[in-house]
């Protein structure tokens, strides 16, 4: 998930009625219109019956982004869809990483990054959890080095405007 894609990464925040098939409709739309989607996350909100979805995609063209949003708005259960202003919103994700590292390396990383150790196994194998920007998680993984990583699980983005 490192950001090597040539196009701009952008996010759309969608509020939907929590009815069956909504996520299916969004994913079908992505396939049908061949949008370059990177992540989709969905969760309930504090308002009963309403869910929010964050969709990130690679797209340079503003016209295409407007089209994507209009197509999403066309889905009956969609209450609103808007592009998030990158400079005016927080994008966060959670990573759960299984890695192999010496205690000293973990200590060094721990002084620089804020993560929680969920599990410590023998043979210097750890499962850690960290949350933050994609840049921070990417950077952490780079510091760790490929050879140290056994498995990663990243949640995809969730985002909120200021």
């Amino acid at each position: 998930m490192t950001s090597t894609h040539p196009m701009k990464r952008r996010a759309i925040l969608i509020f939907v009625l929590n009815r069956p098939g909504v996520l299916n409709k969004i994913s079908m739309l992505i396939r049908r219109k061949m949008y370059n989607v990177e992540t989709v996350t969905a969760c309930r909100t504090h308002r009963p019956g309403i869910s929010r979805m964050t969709l990130t995609l690679y797209e340079d063209s503003d016209d295409k982004m407007i089209q994507v949003i209009k197509q999403i708005e066309k889905i009956a259960e969609v209450l609103s869809a808007k592009e998030l202003d990158v400079d005016n919103s927080f994008w966060r994700e959670v990573a759960v990483i299984k890695l192999e590292a010496s205690d000293s390396l973990m200590e060094r990383l721990g002084s620089k990054y804020n993560f929680e150790i969920l599990d410590r196994q023998e043979n210097e194998v750890f499962i850690i959890q960290m949350a933050g920007t994609y840049g921070l998680i990417d950077e952490f993984m780079q510091q760790l080095g490929e050879g140290k990583i056994i498995e990663t699980a990243r949640s995809g983005f969730t985002a909120m405007e200021k």
């Binding site: 009625l17 098939g21 299916n24 089209q67 209009k70 066309k74 969609v78 209450l79």
Partner: protein, 577 residues
């Protein structure tokens, strides 16, 4: 009450008078209830696809009557529902509101690959505006009422309700209440009722006033909004020529002095050259389909574009607009007309130019029509349609299938009656005409209905002759038989060096088929027989069929080659480089 009773009650509450369909295991409780209550006419199609097109016929044709209706079709689970798919996809492409109710296997066995189970909701979802699967009896009424709302609000489209058989049989609780009048959908996205801002209208008016070479493109939205009169007022008040998309035809009499006829791939020379040279395109209720625009990069490059469209996702989708008005075409035109700034301009040079375009191939075409036969000595479709147009005064309803004959009717029938032209446009579904004509005739019983098909499309839903026979549906079937899939053959002639792959067809004796269904039949091979055959068909009470032996070499021109721009239009084979 039982679920099945609620289905019938909801349809009755929504004023449904016709249901088309085909029964089967999973929809039996609903059919049983229909038979008990007999609150509407049920017409059994001979294939579910036919039922979907009949429903389309009802929705489309009743629009302009005093009793607008939504067409309803019904089918059983699995193959029944799957057979509806093409007709429903077609309704989606052409923005036609229809309701499909399908039976589903009992909820307890869904997803077990039960007998006649298929994932109807999954299949229909990308083709429809909305799909429902009530999983409790108390969801049936609200699903159906919401379905009618969704189908008709904004841009029309199909909606499917898939009801498991056990839910059809489930009894409501004692405290179940549903108020059909007070019901409101909570789909806020579907409450959309666009009202353009005055400033936007003013900008559009200013573009119109400044334009020296304007052109209105009238689309299906004018028909759907029943706004032909408003269009006429606008065109006449501001002196604007009008070209029509395939589905925009019959909005205005096509021989109106400001009308240039159909635009696009097989449009008239004058409308296409006008589109190419316009300085302003005023698109009313249309979506810049590729059959209208040709190659997008070359489309109306010198023109400003005003786009009036009810579906916001169509605005700026294919063609970038200067002024966009998100509204129904009728309302928007009324607002344009109310603007005191809107003026009339003579635009003499532009109208002279259009007359020059019009005269370009008019003699050549007239000569062909008068000759009446093609290279192989058989009838020309344009001659038959011209004669039909003359005989009916262009006042009768015409339903056309898909292909050469469809384009020829669109070009040579002199449409006079508002909303008198029905065909499959966006999806281009062969076989649509025969069943669609059945639905049309149900809601326009006092008008004459001509169903025109080629030999290919006719045989795609030929089984509906059974429905026509059973219900004595008074439609005049014209069969243009040239022994080929003519439109594909035309492309093969022009672009595939005349290799006729998969287009020649050995046909049955259509006279015997008509006789088997008890339908009077005439066969016409000579130009001199056309008028009498049409007159006899017109006078006959009840269904009748005329087969014309047509010339396979007939080419529909002008033609903008697929992928080409309008400037690439082929107007005449004589002039072809």
């Amino acid at each position: 009450m039982k679920g099945a009773e609620l289905v019938i009650k909801s349809l009755k509450d929504k004023g449904v008078q016709y249901v088309f369909g085909y029964t089967g295991g999973a929809i039996m409780p609903v059919f049983d209830e229909m038979e008990k209550q007999k609150v509407f006419s049920f017409i059994m199609s001979r294939h579910e696809q036919g039922a979907a097109f009949m429903a389309q016929g009802v929705s489309r044709a009743s629009l302009t009557t005093s009793n607008p209706q939504i067409g309803v079709c019904m089918a059983t689970s699995g193959p029944g529902a799957m057979n509806l798919v093409t007709g429903i996809a077609d309704a989606g492409m052409d923005s036609v509101p229809i309701i499909a109710i399908t039976g589903q296997v009992p909820s307890g066995v869904i997803a077990t690959d039960a007998f006649q189970e298929s994932d109807v909701v999954g299949v229909m979802m990308p083709l429809t505006k909305q799909t429902y699967m009530p999983l409790r009896v108390d969801q049936i009424e609200e699903s159906i009422h919401e379905a009618f709302h969704v189908a008709t609000v904004g841009r029309g489209g199909p909606v499917v309700i898939d009801i498991p058989k056990d839910i059809q049989n489930q009894e409501t609780a004692a405290d179940y209440r549903f108020d059909p009048i007070a019901f409101e959908s909570d789909l806020v996205g579907m409450l959309y009722s666009p009202h353009p801002e005055r400033e936007t209208i003013r900008k559009a008016v200013s573009l119109i006033n400044r334009s020296e070479r304007p052109l209105i493109l009238c689309g299906h939205g004018i028909i759907s909004a029943n706004a032909g009169d408003s269009l006429k007022q606008l065109a006449e008040k501001a002196n604007l020529p009008v070209a029509f998309t395939l589905h925009g035809l019959s909005s205005l009499p096509v021989d109106h002095p400001l009308s240039l006829g159909m635009v696009g791939m097989h449009g008239t020379v004058e409308s296409n050259w006008a589109l190419l040279n316009a300085d302003l395109v005023i698109a009313l209720g249309m979506r810049f389909d590729d059959r209208v625009t040709g190659k997008l990069d070359d489309f109306a490059v010198n023109a400003a574009v005003i786009h009036v469209e009810i579906d916001p996702s169509e605005i700026d989708k294919n063609v970038k607009t200067n002024v966009s008005i998100n509204a129904d075409a009728g309302g928007a035109i009324q607002q344009l007309l109310r603007d005191p700034e809107l003026i009339s301009k003579p635009r003499r040079l532009w109208f002279e130019q259009i007359e020059t375009y019009r005269s370009e191939i008019v003699d050549e075409i007239q000569e062909e029509i008068d000759t009446g036969v093609g290279k192989e000595g058989q009838l020309l479709m344009k001659t038959i349609v011209s004669k039909l147009s003359k005989a009916t005064g262009g006042r009768d309803i015409v339903v056309a299938d898909v292909g050469q004959h469809q384009m020829i009717v669109a070009r040579f029938y002199n449409f006079q009656t508002p909303n008198s032209w029905f065909t499959s446009g966006g999806a281009g579904t062969m076989g649509c005409a025969l069943p669609m004509a059945v639905g049309v005739k149900m809601v326009r019983p006092n008008e004459r209905v001509w169903s025109i098909s080629g030999d290919g499309g006719f045989q795609m839903n030929i089984q509906e002759l059974g429905t026509i026979m059973e219900h004595d549906v008074d439609i005049k079937i014209l069969l243009f038989n040239n022994g080929y899939l003519g439109m594909v053959r035309q492309w093969q002639t022009l672009f595939f060096d005349g290799r006729y792959a998969g287009t020649p067809m050995k046909n049955p004796d259509f006279g015997k088929i008509a006789a088997a269904y008890g339908i009077p039949y005439q066969r016409v091979a000579e130009v001199s027989e056309i008028d009498a055959a049409l007159a006899a068909a017109a006078e006959h009470k009840g269904a009748t069929m005329v087969e014309f032996l047509c010339d396979p070499s007939e080419i529909v021109l002008p033609m903008v080659p697929a992928g080409g721009g309008i400037a690439d239009m082929i107007t005449s084979l004589k002039k072809k480089k």
